[in-house]
Structure formats: C-alpha cells, structure tokens
C-alpha cells in the first residue's frame, strides 16, 4: 500500500520543509494502519512520494537492520524489520551467539518503548515545579555552563552519575567523559541484577558470569535461581534448558529449592520448599554431604528449613550419582552471597567446573555493575547535601530502590539534577533538566556478550521525537570544553567504528551486527560498605519480593503489551497481588480477591489476595515492577510498588539489596476487588488438554497411547497432518474426497492450493510457559491491548479501572498460555503439598480440518481455505459470534469496542504507538471476530516472494511470529502435507496428540506430550514439616 495521509494534516505540515516520514509522523497512520474494518471513507487521501528516494528501500517491502537488544543486560542480537522508515517488528538475530534467533517478551516489547506515547518529545527544563519544553541548544548550553563552573569550583568531584547498567563500550566512554570534567566514575545500576551471584562467581572463578551449560548437566538444582524468569541471561538459559529437556532420554532433572515456586520452580520436577533464611545452612549441609567444604548434618538442616530429610538425602544421593550436575544459586536473601559461594563449592566438589560451569566462556553481561549498596551510599550522600549535581540515565532508582532508602527525598536535596531518560519516570519527574535519550533502536552502541565477540547496535530509524543519543550529547558537551574537545570523534558512531577498525569495518559488520572485536574494557565495579539487617522486623510471615518476569524492576510497566501479558505464574495482569497459600488464607479467613495488608517495619501495602498453592504457608510474596507515580499513562497508578515494603538491608558480602526473608505481618483489609486474571479454572478436570508422561512411561510406552477422555465416542484414532480428512469445501465439510466440483479444494486442481496443509507442532517438553510467543503475536498481528482504564466498560463501578476488560475475559491474545496444576482439589481447599505437577500449554486457533466454527457462520466470514487454514475474513464478519460458541478451544476473540479505531476512548494505539502497526495485517474495527490465522500474511508474503523469484516455497523457508520468537523452540510451523518440512516429520512423534481429539475436529495443531522426570526415590516433602 502506498502511504496514505488524511488531508487536514497536510495543511499543517506543508508550511515548512519536511521529509516524507515526517508526514507520517504528523499523520501517524500510513498504509494498512488506518484500516478499521468496514470503515469506509470518502476522504480524499494523499500519496506522499519521497523527495529523494533512498536507494535501498522499496515502498511496501520491508528493510531489515541487525542490532542489539537493550531491554536487559544480556545483550541479545535482534533484527529490526522496518517498513517505509518505521520499525514494525523486532525479532531475534539467528546469527547471534547469545540468543540464536530467539527473543523474550521484553525484547519484543522494546518497540512500545520506542513508540511510547509518553516519551519526551523535546528537552525539558524545570520551571517552578513543572517541566517545560525547551530547545536542544538551550538545554545543552545550560548543562555546559553548569559543568564548566562545577569543574572550576571543584564541586564536580562530588557529582553522581547513575546509569542503567549496560554492557559494551558506553560505560567506559562515560567514565572517560566524567573524568574529563573532574567527576567520579558513574554508578552502573541494575535493580534486577543478581549481584550476590556475581560476587560469589568473581570470588570462585574470577569471572562475573561463567558460561552455564545446562545441556551438559544430568541434574540441575536451582536454589531460587530463577533462570527462566529473567535471572541472569534469560534467553540463552531458556534455549539451553529447552534443548536439554527435549532430549528426553538423559535430559536433566530440575530440582528447585526455595520458598516460592517461580516459573523456574513450576518447571522443576521436584520442589524442596525450604523456609526463607535457612537455605544457606541446607546448602552447607549438602556441601558437607557431597564432600565439599561446609558443615552441618543433613537431618538438622532439613528440620530447620522445614523440608523432609528424605528429600534432601535423596537429592544428595542423586548429586553424587549423576555427574556432571549443575547447581545454581540466586535469590536475594540476607546471605545470598554466602549461599552462592557454598553452591560454587559444591559445584567444585562435584567436579562440575569445566563440565557444566565454564569460566572460559564467561559472559560480560555483568562486568562493571555497581552494587546496590553503592547506590544507597550515594543516596545518603545526597541526603546529607554533599552532592552538588546528579545525573541519571535509563535507571529509575526512585521506583526501584527499597522504600527504606528514601531515595526520592535524598535525590530532591541535590541542587541540580539532570536526566537523560526518555520517559517521564519517577526519578526524571524530580529532575531540573531533561535531555531525552534516543531509544536503543534509534541510536548507536555495542555490546560484548562473549569475550572477543562484538555485537553492534545501529539505529533502525530516525528518532521518533526530537531526542538525541546521550553519547552524542556528551560529545557535544565535551567539544565545548577546550581540554576535551580533541579527544572525541564527531559523534558516537565514530567511537563504535573505532572498535571495529574504522568506518569500512563498521559497514562490513553491520549486515549481521556480529563481529570479532571487543568493546572498551568495562570499568571496575563500584561498591560501598553494605548495611545488614536483612531478616529484621516483626511478623509471623516471611515477605518474598521478586522482580516480575514480565515487567522486570518496573521498566516494562509503560508498555501495554507487557502490562497486558499475564504473569506466567500467577496469570495476573495490570494488577499487584499478594500471593498467599490457601491454607494461610483460610487461617486468616481471606478469600481470593479480598484486600490484604502486608506490613513490615518499613512500610505497608494493601492489595487483593491471590491464593497460590506454590508458596510456603509461612511466606507471602509480592511482585515488584508496578506502582509507579509517573512513567506515563500505562504505568501511572497501576498496582502498587512492593519496594515500599523493604528497608535498607543489604547482603553483607555483596551489597545486594535484600528482597526476600524480611519479616512481615498480614491482615485482612476492608474491601475486595476482582482479580485481573486470565485464569478460569486451573484444573484440567481430566480433559486431557495438556498431557504428560513420565520418562518411565515414555520408555515403556504405557500411558502414551491416546487417552480416551470421553468413553463411547466416534473414532479418535490419531491422524496428524494430511492423514486427517481435510475439509473439501468452504463450510468445512468433510464430504467425499472424490467428489467433483471441488474447485480449488481439489488437490488436482490447477491452482494446487489444496496441496498444502499448514500445521503446527507444539512440544510441551520444551515449552516453559514464558509467554514470549504472546507478545510476538501482539506485535505481528496488530492485536489491541484492552486493559487500560479508559478502555473498559464505564457503566459498572465494580468492573472499571485497570484491567476492567480483562476481568470480563475480553483480553485479545490470539495465543494464550494455559497453566494447569495437576492437583485434584480446587485452590480454596488445598492443604500445603509441594508435590504437584504444572502443565503449561499454548492455546491458539487449532485450524481444525473439520471446524465447528465454519458451518455456523451465516456470511462465510470464517471458512476453510484450500490450504487448510481456518480463515477469518474481518471485513465480511457481521459479529454474530456464533463461531465462538462452536469453538471448543475458545480461541476466537471479539472486538467489543473500537480498539482499532482512532478517535475512540478505547483506541489501543495512541499516536505514535500506531506507527508499529503491521501494514500487512488489517486492524480490526469494532464488532468483528478475530483469531489466530497462522500469520497468513507471512504465508502470502512467502508465496509472493517465491513467485517473484519464480520458484516454489522452500521447506521451512519462513515461520510464524510465535514460533520465530519462542526462546524454547517449542513451536514449529510448516506444511504437514510436504514431508520435506520439519513439521511433517514431527507430527509422527510418538508423543503426539490433538487436544479434544474425541470431538473429531482434526486439528492442524499437534501437541507433543510433556515428559516428567520424577526422582528415582520419590522426594515426598511432608506437609506437616513444612509448617
């Protein structure tokens, strides 16, 4: 589609010279972005050509730029798809050593950071108590002056520069710059970083983050190391784990030790629910038992930590037997570092170093990271008024520091505060001068994930707003200073080019953005004397605060995709909940959704209760990441901030802030609210939706043959792919395959359309439930988020506010992660029992060969395409919603409001979020049904490309968005009719089954059963001791 523009805007911009994309900026919508279904228009539209057409771009055809993801410290490689000068999709870079083409939800959502409607459009300057827009010249002049006299007066030596920790050259570059102005080195702050593990690793192996080879281990024991929830390097860890588990034979068993089952815990075969604060002794005892350093008898330790001795003994036995093994220590308890060191000792004792722990393949991700103590120390200096000028970039300490640190008050005492943040976050709100940074997709940079490998970051598009890369601003400021001017190239691009042998090298390296080379060496990590007192405070319960797997420390909270993405464990979106064990809840007569007040010595927090069977009865958990005071329309006032509960308490050995093990008391508060959850019933009721077998059964074949859920049903023989009868007309009729007049539905028809059957295989042995596929789907298919307060029905007081639509089950995720607990009782009456299996299953449209939704549609809006797709024609839909009634999988979603229509309160893509909309996919208007289409736009694009190159579509030439993103490689898409495609082979797997086979829907989505690895000697954790 040509870029179209509505008229009135032209009049505005026609005045001064503008480039083509600036038109789009003003108008916001171009190409298919305006396509609300059936919204016909007679407005005269404009065709805006280029002034001078760029050589490489073809209108209507995507251009791809390789770059580096900056959403966390890991430094994954990404490919940014741009169309007509806008980034529309971010995908993993297959050529990248870290993430091998996969990408997590947060990486996917970086686009909504780029196009966030609440970004600063210009530099801002404080006037009174508000920030007002100013020009870049003014802003830079102001800052330059400040720097100059700070340098003169010597005040500079007390300046503080807080930078969001990142790897690569920038930290060193920044320190040089600071030094040039006589300022001390910056603080690389990251609230999420596993500081304690890093410290222990430095001590044990001399590197901050050795390569963990999860695949080589026979058993993995995680001491609250949530390597599937964002701890460490999420994507590579998940890839390795999934690959290992997919081996089935000889796949590592996963044992999880910790008070709360995180996503990692739920993926574990055994859960040892050790009481907070006692894990250290337990580890010591285990160390002693396996012959490493450390003391303490197993039984006693088990007693103290409230787990059964048999379980621990069994674990020890297993560790001795199964070598190599891998033990990981995470968590943020008062003595997490001690724990981590002990674990490293055990690893050494078991000879895992070199086998599963490879210091040689160390990651640079956490080099040069400052301890949380250092930041708290800085805060104290500020409070004492000893800091004349402070800078903050990217980080939001006001929100992510413990409430006890009183960072906001301290920061407010600094006379001159400069922010380089791009968003109006809680910290930036307090600043006097804001020089908004470019988004990472708009700026140059580099990362060195593995020593010797440089991962480049290049701008994929011109800045959306009038922002400037901080590095360039720094250079500009330096140029103003005579002593420093000489040291710098024209801009930061030059600095990067220097790392790869000049401009030529840079140009050569950019196609993959991965090259040999190294970033500037990371500066030495900053630290300060930690303050203890972790387990202080009163209360009968342990508080367990954890960084949200979806929102991280809160930096994801301004991205609606992430707010709407249900937490993989609790399935809660748009809301902060207090996680209680049903037993505890019953004791305090608290029901699901009742408001609960958690009180610590520092502060208190009131939120609805969520009854979670995966947490110790003596522990209460709250996720961090929500409860912003500012940070834009999506984050402001959504949920509450768990950090408020935490006092100043750090791990004495590493200076990591203490998140877990703090004492707290809980009480029923008045009021209740409906949980913003996508969870209906978390039990399968024996319906065989997410099936699993034990390794034993898998070997012997018992229990693997099809489970007849309903007795006395028609043939439920398993017929994957084309061997299942496929509809031979638009109504999804099975009919007589030999019947004439089938037109394109005839495999022998000249069009050959019917020769294909698009299908998907989902390997539940790989799927961890991380939900990256969900966000990928939102990004690819223009799926609206519906949870913002103004998007909901406004007529019921009880169901308005954040997530009002989600409360009514109106979320639009075309693919959802269902999380079932294999435990026969409903949540409310569950005794504590650590032994339950969790099944996660991605549920999307099953593209039935014999679809119940097709015959009932009165207008053929949904029908069966010859290539086996269950097509949804949005513009034909009148919205009877009959198809949804027919669908047993409940994977059809209705546009209750005009989410896709601009100028509506419920519009899901406020300017400029709509820049991200995929031009190849129709944006649905109100009143129509939508659903997963196997990314039909990608199928058509591949067919067009093949035709253009005068060839057939090659096997596995392309894949769908969810499969492309999946960091577990659990999804495989392809043509089941052609055995050259991987999927056609996989459907033959002996673990294969269809969901609700007995309904004879002959789905095109084939699931492979999960395989559980129970302990040889069952580790039965007795409920009694747990309390």
């Amino acid at each position: 589609m040509s870029t179209e523009t509505k008229d009135p805007a032209i009049a505005d911009v026609i005045a001064e010279p503008v480039r083509r994309r600036d038109f789009l900026k003003v108008l916001g919508v171009g190409g298919a972005a305006v396509t609300a279904v059936g919204c016909y228009s007679d407005q005269v539209e404009k065709l805006i050509p280029y002034v001078a057409s760029p050589d490489e771009t073809v209108p209507g055809v995507s251009t791809y730029y390789a770059s580096t993801c900056r959403e966390c410290a890991a430094g994954c490689g990404i490919i940014v798809e741009t169309r007509d000068g806008r980034a529309i999709k971010v995908e993993g870079n297959p050529a990248h050593p870290v993430n091998r083409g996969a990408l997590c939800a947060r990486g996917q959502a970086s686009l909504q950071g780029l196009y966030n409607p609440d970004r600063f459009a210009t530099p801002m300057k404080r006037q009174g108590d508000t920030l007002v827009a100013t020009t870049w010249d003014d802003a830079i002049a102001t800052l330059s002056a400040k720097l100059a006299d700070a340098k003169q007066s010597g005040a500079a030596k007390d300046a503080v520069f807080i930078n969001q920790h990142e790897q690569g050259s920038f930290p060193a570059f920044l320190d040089q710059w600071l030094a040039g102005f006589g300022m001390p080195a910056h603080l690389a702050y990251d609230a999420e970083a596993p500081i304690s593990t890093v410290a222990a690793n430095r001590q044990a192996f001399g590197v901050s983050w050795p390569g963990y080879d999860l695949g080589a281990a026979k058993i993995i024991v995680s001491f609250a190391a949530d390597f599937l929830d964002g701890w460490g390097l999420p994507v590579p860890q998940q890839l390795a784990f999934a690959d290992a588990r997919a081996r089935i034979e000889g796949a590592p068993r996963l044992v999880y030790v910790g008070p709360r089952r995180s996503l990692t815990g739920l993926n574990a075969d055994t859960w040892i629910p050790a009481r907070p604060g006692t894990v250290q002794q337990l580890a010591e005892a285990i160390a002693a038992a396996v012959g490493g350093r450390g003391a303490g008898d197993l039984k006693g330790a088990a007693e103290r930590s409230g787990v059964s001795a048999e379980a621990v003994e069994a674990l020890v036995a297993e560790l001795k037997a199964a070598k190599p093994s891998l033990l990981l220590a995470g968590g943020a308890g008062p003595n997490a570092t001690a724990l981590a060191s002990t674990i490293n000792d055990i690893n050494k004792a078991l000879g895992n170093v070199g086998q599963t722990i490879k210091p040689a393949e160390a990651s640079q991700a956490f080099e040069g990271i400052a301890t949380h103590a250092a930041l708290r120390d800085a805060a104290e200096r500020m409070a004492a008024g000893r800091v004349p000028v402070a800078f903050v970039r990217g980080a939001d300490p006001v929100h992510s520091m413990p409430g006890g640190a009183k960072f906001a008050e301290a920061f407010a005492k600094v006379p001159f505060k400069v922010s380089f943040s791009s968003y109006p976050d809680d910290t930036t709100q307090l600043c006097d001068l804001v020089l908004p940074d470019n988004h990472s997709l708009e700026s140059w940079g580099d990362a060195e994930p593995v020593k010797g490998t440089l991962s480049l970051q290049q701008p994929a598009m011109d800045p959306v707003f009038s922002t400037r890369a901080t590095a360039d601003v720094l250079i500009a400021l330096a140029k103003a200073d005579p002593q420093m001017a000489g040291r710098y190239p024209a801009d930061y691009r030059g600095v990067i080019a220097a790392r790869v042998g000049g401009n030529a090298g840079l140009v050569a390296a950019l196609p993959t953005a991965v090259t040999r080379g190294s970033a500037l060496p990371a500066p030495a990590p900053k630290s300060a004397a930690p303050k203890g007192g972790g387990a202080a405070g009163q209360g009968d319960y342990f508080l367990y605060v954890y960084q949200s797997p979806v929102l991280g420390d809160g930096r994801g909270a301004n991205k609606p995709w992430l707010q709407e993405l249900p937490d993989p464990v609790t399935k809660i979106a748009w809301q902060t909940v207090v996680e209680l064990h049903p037993e505890t809840a019953r004791k305090l007569s608290i029901a699901q959704g009742d408001h609960v007040t958690v009180t610590t010595s520092t502060g208190s927090l009131t939120a609805p209760a969520y009854l979670y069977i995966g947490i110790r009865p003596d522990t209460v958990a709250v996720a961090a990441g929500r409860g912003h005071a500012a940070y834009g329309r999506y984050a402001r006032g959504c949920g509450s901030n768990a950090m408020a509960l935490l006092g100043v308490a750090e791990d004495m050995r590493s200076g990591q802030m203490v998140l877990a093990g703090v004492r707290a008391s809980i009480a029923r508060a008045t009021g209740e609210s409906r949980l913003v959850t996508t969870e209906g019933s978390a039990r399968q009721h024996d319906r065989g939706i997410a099936q699993a077998v034990t390794l034993e059964q898998f070997r012997t074949g018992e229990g693997v043959e099809h489970e007849h859920t309903f007795p006395g049903q028609a043939s439920t023989e398993f017929l994957p792919g084309l061997r299942a009868p496929v509809a031979n007309d638009a109504q999804g009729d099975l009919g007589d395959p030999k019947s004439a007049q089938k037109g394109q539905y005839d495999p022998d028809h000249w069009s050959g359309v019917a020769k294909r059957r698009w299908a998907m295989v989902v390997d539940l042995a790989r799927c961890t439930g991380c939900s990256a596929c969900v966000t990928a789907c939102y990004a690819e298919n223009n799926i609206p988020t519906v949870g913002a307060p103004w998007q909901g029905p406004q007529l019921w007081p009880n169901v308005t506010g954040h997530g009002a639509n989600v409360v009514r089950g109106r979320e639009m995720a075309w693919i959802r992660l269902e999380r079932y607990f294999e435990i026969d009782r409903e949540p409310k009456d569950v005794e504590f029992n650590a032994e339950f299996d969790t099944r996660v299953i991605p549920m999307m449209c099953q593209q039935c060969g014999n679809a119940p939704c097709e015959p009932v549609c009165p207008v053929y809006a949904t029908y069966h395409s010859p290539d086996g797709l269950n097509v949804q024609v949005y513009n034909r839909c009148v919205g009877t919603r009959y198809c949804s009634n027919g669908c047993p999988y409940k994977v059809r979603y209705f546009n209750w409001f005009g989410y896709g229509e601009p100028n509506r309160a419920q519009y899901a893509f406020p300017e400029p979020l709509n820049w991200q909309l995929n031009p190849d996919v129709t944006v649905r208007g109100k009143g129509v049904m939508e659903k997963c289409t196997f990314c039909v736009q990608r199928i058509r694009e591949a067919e067009n490309r093949a035709r253009l190159e005068n060839r057939e579509v090659q096997p596995d030439e392309f894949t769908v968005a969810c499969a492309q993103a999946c960091p577990s490689r659990a999804l495989t898409f392809g043509d089941a009719a052609d055995e050259q495609w991987a999927v056609a082979r996989m459907v033959e797997d002996k673990r294969a089954y269809h969901v609700f086979e007995e309904l004879n829907t002959y789905t095109a989505v084939v699931y492979l059963r999960k395989v559980n690895h129970p302990a040889a000697a069952p580790a039965n954790v007795a409920a009694a001791e747990a309390r």
Partner: protein, 240 residues
C-alpha cells in the same frame, strides 16, 4: 347501498407519490462543491474540487472501493492534482515506460511514486517549457524539499491486500485496471475496483489479447492464441 371500495385508491395514490419522490430524491446527486474558504491550501482546493467530481449516492456501499459513497464505486472520479502532470506527453510523446516512474510496480505490492528528485532529474534542464506554471510549482517543491501531495485516484479498501507485482509479472497490462492513463490529460478512476470486478477476472481468467486491446494495442497472433491466465479466488488471498 354505498360502495366504499373507491376509498381504496386514495391511499394507493399517496403511496405511489411517496415512492416516486424517494426515487427521484435518491437519484438526484448533490454537488459536492462547498464554497471555497478564505485562505485555502493547495490540497484543500484539490480536495474540494475532487469531492464534486463523482455523483454522491444516497447511501454508502461498504467496500466497493476506497471511495465508497460514490455511486459506481467512484468510477470516473477525477480529482484535480496539485501539479497538472500530463501523462500523455510523458508516455505517448516521450515514450516513458510506466515503471520508469512507478518504479516498484513489478517488485512490490506498492507500485511506487516518483520522488521529486526523479522529476527534477530531467526538469532541471531550464530549456523545458520555461514558461510552464506547473513546472514552476515542481521546482518550487524541489527547492523547498517538499514532496508533492498527489491526490489519490485508485484505491482499494485497506482490508484488501493487492500485490501489484503479482499482476504485473503475470503480464496484466496496467491499462486493464487503470485504463489508458497514457491518454488521460487528468487521471480518472477507470474501473469500479469492487470485489465482483476483481473476482470475475480471477475466475474467468485474464486474456492477454483483451489486456492488449484495453491498452490500445492490437494483439498479435501469439497473444490471441494465448490461453486465459486464471488466478486463485480464495478469500484469504486478499483479505487478511
């Protein structure tokens, strides 16, 4: 006894009159030419004039074409362009190929529009019609570094995905859908662009001979002998 039957005719007549008036009302096409506002930008002018070109229907079809509430899906609609670009001169006289300017028609769903720089490529030569006011406009745009806000003529609704390259590479002449633009002093919408129009060709198949004729050529024997090119007509080819 009195025969009340004649009363039957009174309301019948009334009904007839009503019906007649409705029909005439709907047939009458209001002129879309609103009075010109005080200061009117170039494009506002173009729109105002364009709006009046085709008769406005009494009600809107959905999806007939981009300009759906013109009867006949906007056929004959011919908006005034910001610059009076003469296709005939460039195509017939100077023998420019369509894809010289519409450069991506054979490799992209989007046919592409010439960048101002493309025009200037030739028109920087001052000897070309030095007096022409439209060329002056063109140079003005180029000088100011502004793109030319052409008024769109042919448009399918946004929920239709039309890959130009598939059609062009299949040998469909541009004129089959766009008409003989090479003979249009001011381009107008040639075909209804509604779904039936698309589907009929996809089902019947495209005849090279007809294509050539519509382009104004006389088909050679090969073209005449060539079979109709059929295309798939599955909904999800275009609607997704």
């Amino acid at each position: 006894m009195k025969r009340p039957s004649r009363w039957v005719f009174v309301p019948a007549a009334a009904a007839l009159t009503l019906a007649a008036s409705i029909i005439t009302a709907s047939a009458r096409a209001p002129q879309g030419n609103a009075p010109a506002p005080a200061q009117e930008t170039l494009t506002q002018k173009a729109n105002r004039e364009a709006a009046g070109k085709a008769p406005r229907g009494p009600f809107a079809y959905s999806g007939a074409s981009g300009y759906t509430n013109y009867l006949g899906g906007g056929v004959g609609r011919s908006p005034v362009q910001p610059i009076k670009f003469p296709h005939p001169v460039h195509v017939n006289t100077l023998k420019l190929n369509c894809v010289y300017c519409h450069f991506s028609a054979f490799k992209s769903p989007d046919p592409g529009l010439p960048a101002v720089s493309t025009c200037i490529g030739c028109h920087q030569n001052p000897t070309i019609l030095p007096a022409s006011p439209d060329l002056a406009k063109l140079k003005d745009y180029a000088a100011k570094g502004q793109p030319i806000p052409w008024v769109r003529v042919h448009k399918v609704p946004e929920y239709v995905h039309f890959p130009h390259m598939r059609h062009v590479n299949a040998g469909v002449t541009c004129q089959s859908c766009h008409g003989q633009v090479n003979n249009m002093p001011q381009v107008f919408q040639y075909a209804s662009l509604n779904m039936g129009w698309c589907v009929s060709c996809h089902v019947k198949g495209y005849s090279p001979a007809e294509g050539l004729r519509s382009a104004g050529y006389t088909p050679d024997s090969a073209a005449l002998a060539a079979p109709r090119k059929r295309a798939t007509y599955d909904c999800s080819n275009c609607h997704y």
